[in-house]
């Protein structure tokens, strides 16, 4: 019993001691094997990530050499002529994801606050369950729903109304196809709401009750308590939840492909059709025949990886700059 609790103290100490008893030496071997396995899995994950980067770089080398930086800043995508520029895809990916975040973040945080702070206890489990169910819907189903329900609704009602009221903004001009950037942003928003909501709800539930009691004790209102004591305390967790949603939005392929209109053009209007990096890969990779064409598509894959890593990196910086949960909470 005593040996057991000692062994629990730390691997390093354990390994440093000479193996005196049989039990101890066996445990030493076990620890070494354990350590080896853990290390191996770490290296394997790193090797996979590195291998992925290397393979993408290798396969896209022909396109990188041919087009150089031009690939990033031109919007001419012509497989027949062998001219490739990825700007519309980068633009479409970023804009559709941002649009999704703009819609989904207030909605999800509102739902999470309601579920964690305000809702009567009998309401919480069924509502939380329903929201989480949304995450289980396959994306092709979202896409079909988008084509048959969302797009006609946008075309016949939402877009004409937006054009009438906000039509002076370049964002809401052009013919209302229904299909386009707005539809893609909306579908993505619906898809990422369950992720952001359920993670945020967990974060808010993890905020200690003493936080709320202290704020209420100082005479804060319900909203002030939530804002000062709860949201502030959990903000790094909340940003993490939003990041998870963003990651999902950047990489989503099927549903977006079905409603975005797949037109490689940079257009300011949200009514115009667009294209994303993941969509062009899904659309064109299978039938790409020339080497340069395949290489250009692989380079888009590489770019998607780079953009995702860059966006995540930026968001990490943001989390660091606002500080951990402790500082805000204990203030």
């Amino acid at each position: 019993m005593a040996a057991d609790s000692l062994a629990g103290v730390g691997t390093a100490d354990d390994l440093a001691l000479p193996p005196r008893a049989v039990g101890r030496s066996r445990r030493g071997v076990g620890d070494r094997v354990y350590r080896g396995l853990i290390l191996a899995s770490v290296w394997l994950v790193l090797a996979l990530a590195g291998g992925l980067l290397l393979a993408l770089g290798w396969e896209s080398w022909a396109a990188i050499r041919t087009f150089g930086l031009r690939f990033l800043i031109t919007s001419h995508w012509d497989p027949v002529a062998g001219e490739f520029g990825a700007l519309p895809f980068i633009y479409g990916t970023l804009v559709s994801s941002l649009l999704a975040l703009l819609i989904a973040v207030p909605l999800s945080l509102g739902a999470a606050i309601f579920l964690a702070e305000l809702a009567p206890s009998w309401v919480r489990p069924p509502v939380a369950f329903l929201i989480e169910m949304l995450a289980a819907v396959p994306s092709v189903v979202y896409g079909l729903w988008g084509i048959f329900v969302l797009v006609p609704w946008l075309r016949d009602w939402v877009q004409p109304a937006l054009a009438r009221t906000l039509g002076f903004l370049p964002l809401f001009q052009g013919p209302p196809y229904g299909i386009g950037m707005l539809a893609a942003g909306l579908i993505l928003a619906i898809m990422i709401v369950p992720y952001i909501t359920s993670v945020s709800r967990e974060v808010l539930l993890a905020v200690p009750g003493s936080q709320r009691e202290a704020a209420l004790g100082l005479g804060a209102t319900r909203w002030e308590t939530t804002r000062i004591a709860v949201l502030r305390y959990g903000r790094s967790g909340l940003i993490g939840a939003i990041l998870l949603g963003l990651g999902r939005a950047l990489g989503e392929t099927m549903a977006v492909t079905m409603v975005i209109g797949n037109r490689p053009e940079v257009a300011l209007s949200l009514f115009a059709p667009g294209y994303t990096m993941a969509s062009v890969l899904a659309n064109e990779f299978t039938e790409a025949t020339s080497d340069l064409y395949v290489s250009a598509l692989v380079e888009i894959g590489l770019l998607l990886l780079v953009v995702t890593v860059a966006v995540n990196g930026l968001a990490r910086l943001l989390v660091w700059s606002v500080g951990g949960p402790a500082r805000g909470g204990r203030a």
């Binding site: 084509i147 659309n283 064109e284 039938e287 790409a288 025949t289």
Partner: protein
Amino acid sequence: MTKRWWIVPILLLAMATLGRPGAADAQMLMNGAGATFPYPIYSKWFEEYIKIDPEVRFNYQSIGSGGGIRQITERTVDFGASDGPMTDEQLKKAPAELFHIPTVMGAVVATYNLPGNPQLAFTGEVLADIFLGKITKWNDLRIKALNPSATLPDQTIVVVHRSDGSGTTYIWVDYLCKISPEWEKEVGRGTSVKWPVGLGGKGNEGVAGQVKNAPGSLGYVELAYAITNKLPAARIKNPAGKLVEPTIESTTAAAAGAVKNMPDDFRVSLTNAPGADAYPIASFTWLLVYKDQPNESKGKALVKFLWWAIHDGQRHPAALLYAPLPAPVVKQIEAKIKQITFSGKPLLAAQ
């Protein structure tokens, strides 16, 4: 409890043996990869062919024509499949001479959504100008001239095309290239092209879904898809000056019209083919095989299958809404299959 772990491998072994009937009698596995368009008819053939020759099993991956061409060029499969003929450049990259064997035919139809669902007719020139963005309204005089009895609204034409690379697109733009020099110069032919106007839908269902939903839209889908989903399909004027409805028969007629000028390697485009009843937007789909087979027994099995496919196999396409090959073309392909060899020896004579 813990002692029962030995049951796991035994169960797995039992499942493995049960799951593969006849695995013991050394079956030959024939690997193929390529086009998605003929996948339904090919899987039907492979299923039927087991009854003819139980010793051969086929494994066909419908990864797309591009993948099929790449894999046969790298010899990682026994046969490839493509909806578009290989280019001279691609053929040069292959390590040995490749044959194109036509198997069945498909057609592409123009489908649309207009109030009242009129039966429309188009010429290639009008279609090309719509897809170039030069004709933008349904009540354009040139469309009216072709459809004097239809009521055409003053509405913008919403062009819908395939967003995914596809043989269907290849056939469609190949036709537009032949009709319109401007299309050939500005856009060209390929499985994906830079569309001057329009929205992209993924797959036949994506295009059909957008056309069905948006009044005033015009798109193109496979004939089989249009028939099964009862989509309106426009009649197209063929080179003989006749407005032809897209059907299985008018598709086969397109190949019959091309018999006279059939090139020896079958790398022929059947769009805008001569013939009074020929539907002008039709095409072969091909299997790609090496002229000189690397493996004698596999080569033998392959030519036997090809022979069956162009003869008895031609009973099956119509049920799946592909057009069968016309008899004169079958004769021409027979000669080609007879040229397939193993180290210089013809394989078909051996059977």
